[in-house]
């Protein structure tokens, strides 16, 4: 149960999240990928706070991350709804008006 195993798990979560973001065309799925990445970060925070610094600063930080994740998810889904209302689909590829 050493620190390095926790970090490996964090890395795995991060990569799955990243993979989801990159491959999913559905906006909500992308959001899920984002959530996975955030959790990976939290694992790292907690692991370091527990194994390295002996202070629970890391955990507080993780708390704030969770709070933000919630806010972010809310706003993201509101945007996706608006997107869905205006364009009829939630596909990430269609919202590419901001291209160069």
């Amino acid at each position: 149960m050493a620190l390095d195993k926790m970090l490996v798990v964090g890395a795995a979560l991060f990569c799955c999240g990243l993979y989801t973001i990159l491959t999913r065309r559905n906006a909500v799925a992308v959001l899920m990928g984002v959530e996975l990445v955030l959790n990976a970060a939290n694992i790292n925070f907690v692991a370091f706070s527990h194994y390295v610094s002996r202070m629970i600063g890391g955990q507080i930080f993780a708390v704030f991350v969770i709070v933000l994740a919630a806010a972010e998810a809310a706003v993201a889904l509101a945007i996706f709804l608006r997107l869905f209302a205006t364009t009829g689909t939630v596909e990430v590829d269609t919202a590419d008006h901001l291209r160069g």
């Binding site: 990159l22 706003v75 209302a85 364009t87």
Partner: protein, 176 residues
Amino acid sequence: MKGPVDLVFYVLAAVTVGSAILVATLPNIIYAAVALLFAFFGVAGLYILVSADFLAATQVLVYVGGILVLIMFAVFLSSRISSVELSNPVHFRLPAAAICLALFGVLAHTAVSPAFIPKPQVTYQPTTAEIGELLMTRYLLPFEVASVLLLAALIGAALLSRPDRPDIPRPDMEEP
């Protein structure tokens, strides 16, 4: 100290990572959402292993209770037209796989490298009181800022997801 703690750790790790992989690969979005649920629970378990009990609680409470539900709603709302689109179209897989594996390799390599010196084992202690105290003393400012942020997010989400009402002048959301 082989024994039951490592075993639990490995189980939890396997659950988390497996469900994460499922989230990434399942074509159907609903199944992906469920896989996500399990991933969150795996993570909460890991928190407990690391004696971050308050964190595990908030994890379960916020992520699973809040965000996952939101996602489920979004999925159902956005797939009004019952059609096969429920399926989760996938594209761009090969480069994504390549970059993720490469990154995993690199991160794992650094994680395993002896750069980190773990402290000796410490017994579990409840952390909630400490967190509550810290939140109210040292980290009071981020706590307040977070609350302002949540309020803004709340208003923003509400405003964005309101149905169109022609009589109220709303900023022109330019059609696609």
